[in-house]
């Protein structure tokens, strides 16, 4: 597989950042942030992947002693997903409030208003 998964992670980061910079709606910006963060999932899982190994969950088919992939990075990805979800929720709530107060959800127009 080579280093292709790392390249995919880099691509997701770059594309997400580009979307966040050029987005014309705050909700679109939050979605782009989620895309950029998705790169960390790919990176973490790529770091722990082992060719030919099973998922790190023992059962009657995967007995202890069989090769399994690294569970630590998978647990980190789980934490990552939870944090991403909570950050999105708070950002979306902030967007609702910004939309009520400034009557716009275009980040460019927000910059010209104050108060």
């Amino acid at each position: 597989m080579g280093v292709a998964p790392y390249i995919v992670a880099g691509w997701l980061l770059v594309v997400g950042l580009y979307g966040a910079i050029t987005s014309r709606h705050l909700v679109c910006m939050v979605l782009c942030l989620a895309v950029a963060q998705a790169s960390t999932y790919v990176l973490l899982l790529a770091v722990g992947y082992k060719t030919g190994a099973a998922a790190p969950i023992y059962s009657t088919t995967v007995m202890p002693g069989a090769p399994v992939v690294d569970p630590v990075v998978q647990a980190l990805a789980l934490t990552d997903v939870v944090v991403e979800a909570t950050v999105s929720a708070v950002l979306l709530a902030l967007i609702v409030r910004a939309g009520q107060r400034f009557r716009t959800t275009d980040p460019d127009e927000l910059g010209e208003l104050h108060g």
Partner: protein
């Protein structure tokens, strides 16, 4: 800076960033052959010393248990923050009136949506409870199962069972269970100090790997997390749904 100029600057800067990333990873060892031996040790250690079949949850709720305690608090604070942000701007009576109007309009919901929602809610709750309680054995656990359970509540809304949802007074119930979930996690963490002298120590009997009651506090913390995640997500969803009701009214 106009949009076109900003997009141009962004493309130039991100092209440099992308080139640096490609340069940085081109020398790395290929995916599929992690270096070192520690990555292969964690899962057998958790199976041997904690009797936990699911090594991912073993790491989350035991080895990195204190991190997950912090993560629970992040979730708690985020749900609290969303409610505070959205409730500050509205009058609870307005929401009540809007909800009643909404109930009167429920006849307009298609029968297919109502039927499929009513059919799916039961199996989804059973599946969510299964995923929450078998976190130590099979893929899943408190975080994943909690999301499924919260989705079952959202499905009830989508099917137009607002009355059924209101009868249980979701907000009060959800707020209480969120606090209970977060507090219970902290109490289990403190239980480690009381019974074993170390925060987050696994102080329950480990049982036998593969059994439902195995892996000590890993299984318990998974269930507690399931309560917390269900409540936090349900609270966040309820707040946004209330906001939608107001906009439609």
């Amino acid at each position: 800076m106009s949009r076109a100029v900003r997009a141009g600057v962004a493309v130039a800067a991100l092209a440099v960033l992308g080139a640096l990333i490609v340069w940085a990873v081109s020398d790395l060892r290929g995916v599929g052959h992690p270096p070192g031996v520690n990555s292969a040790r964690v899962a057998p250690i958790l199976a041997h010393e904690r009797q936990a079949a699911n090594a991912v949850n073993g790491v989350t709720f035991d080895m990195r248990g204190s991190d997950t305690l912090g993560e629970e608090m992040i979730l708690f604070a985020a749900a609290l923050g969303v409610s505070v942000l959205l409730r500050a701007a509205r009058d609870p009576r307005e929401v009540q009136v809007a909800a009643e109007d909404d109930v009167n309009r429920r006849g307009a919901i298609s029968g297919a949506l109502r039927a499929s929602a009513a059919t799916l809610v039961g199996p989804m709750i059973v599946f969510g409870l299964y995923v929450v309680t078998h976190g130590q054995l099979t893929p899943g656990g408190g975080f994943q199962g909690g999301v499924i359970l919260a989705a079952a509540l959202l499905l009830t809304y989508a099917g137009g069972q607002v009355l059924a949802v209101q009868r249980t007074d979701p907000v009060a119930l959800v707020e209480v269970s969120e606090a209970v979930g977060a507090l219970a996690f902290a109490l289990v963490a403190l239980g480690g100090v009381v019974f074993a002298g170390v925060l987050m120590a696994n102080f329950l009997p480990f049982g036998e790997i593969g059994a439902l009651l195995s892996s000590g506090t890993i299984a318990l913390l998974s269930v507690v997390t399931g309560v917390e995640v269900t409540a936090a997500l349900a609270l966040i969803l309820t707040e946004f749904l209330d906001q939608t009701l107001l906009r439609d009214a």
